[in-house]
Symmetry: C2
Subunit: 237 residues, 2 copies
DNA sequence: ACCTGAACACCGTTCAAGT
DNA sequence: ACCTGAACACCGTTCAAGT
């Protein structure tokens, strides 16, 4: 009769591949990619790592800290472009990089877009935008509201895009037809008239349009600022 | 010896004030106002109504349906302004009404801004914006992207504002000083230089600025469209 | 230093049984 | 028509006990 194996307790023997913070974050990202944010639990993540849920607390500040860490890892994966000196092009490139990062994990993107992040990696995109605006001759006092307006517009569109889910483009013809029919029967005249356009959604095109809209506004303000500055300089003579 | 009272089962006697859908939503809103969205549970809401959690299922489609109902009640409380014919002013008034509605329950606002709502009440603001754009001579095809860009910018700023919490304005001087110090030590030159501006946040001013930015872009597009249309009409002669 | 057993105080939700 | 008891399968988190 062999001795029954006692359930293991304490750290497993051997210099085995230890549980690590990034491994936990990666596993969480896999859970989210597969089943969405709501499927994340300390237990589900731990299970996918073959470990007990309570072990995660040695590497992560609870579930909330874990989700923050996921958001920060995504943010940290954004490859910000080198500035070229073309204000509009540079700002657009930053936006594109941000969008690419978000769309790499669409179901996790709301974490990046809605959680308040305080770490240093969260500041890199801010630094990039301020750098471009500074090169354009914009002092911080004026740059910060422009930055915030730009980020708000970008976050707003991306949030809409990832929320729309993978039912993007003209691929989902029956879904479009169904939505259109509902809108036409809404009893709201303008909604009914625009039903065909409201029921469609093309992520790439919507993003490009919304960013263009925001960049129009920002570059217009930069132009104004310069003009005002010039006028002031002139009147000082 | 008195008979011990059996725990009640089944509907309580008398034509008592029955549990109702709006009562449940109101109670949920009170929980959110007091303790935030995370404090909402079927049990906590039911408890505040002196009822069992399972009773809520007779009036609401689970917790998710309950949170949708909260978002829709807030959206339904938005008093949309009568259009005056001034495009920019009318769009701004719609934005203001939306913001007022959101700020009436700041902690619940993320529900309105991030959940995908499908009901008819969610379409009222859409109808309002499309109406204004239509009066301005903008056909649905062009109006829908403008609508979406505008909504994205609005949602983005409001989300930022409600997330910033009640630590708004210059009221929270020590908080501002602390944030500023962190930014100055970030090692990011432009962030450090803009630390004073980045650490401050004035909800009213940020909203006004961001909406102005978006309205600039929208009205510019409307102007272009008209000019293009005029040019087309001209070349057709 | 790091992992788990035991334990606690919670969750959302179904369904039949009651009135 | 509407409410609850019993029940199920979950949660996040603490802390001491182990290696």
């Amino acid at each position: 009769m062999t001795a029954t194996r006692e359930p293991r307790r304490g750290r497993p023997p051997g210099g085995a591949p230890r549980l690590t913070r990034v491994a936990i974050v990666d596993a969480t990202l896999e859970v989210i990619d597969a089943d969405g944010i709501d499927a994340v639990s300390m237990r589900s993540v731990a299970h996918s790592l073959g470990v007990d849920a309570k072990s995660l607390y040695n590497h992560v500040a609870g579930k909330d800290g874990l989700l923050d860490a996921v958001a920060e890892q995504i943010l940290g994966s954004v490859r910000l472009p080198e500035p070229t000196g073309d204000v509009r092009g540079d700002l657009r490139a930053i936006g594109d990089a941000f969008r690419d990062g978000a769309l790499a994990h669409p179901r996790a993107a709301p974490l990046v877009l809605t959680r308040r992040l305080t770490s240093l990696t969260a500041l890199a995109p801010v630094e990039a935008v301020l750098g471009v605006l500074s090169t354009a001759g914009c002092p911080p006092r004026d740059a910060v509201p422009l930055l915030r307006g730009l980020v708000a517009a970008l976050a707003g569109t991306l949030l809409r895009e990832v929320r729309a889910g993978p039912a993007r483009g003209a691929a989902d013809a029956p879904g479009i037809a169904r939505r259109q029919a509902v809108l036409e029967r809404s009893g709201l005249p303008h909604v009914a008239e625009a039903a065909a356009d409201l029921s469609r959604f093309d992520g790439d095109a919507e993003y490009a349009y919304a960013l263009d809209l925001a960049l129009d506004a920002v570059t217009a303000r930069l132009g104004e600022r310069r003009a005002t500055g010039a006028r002031r300089a002139l009147s000082r003579e």
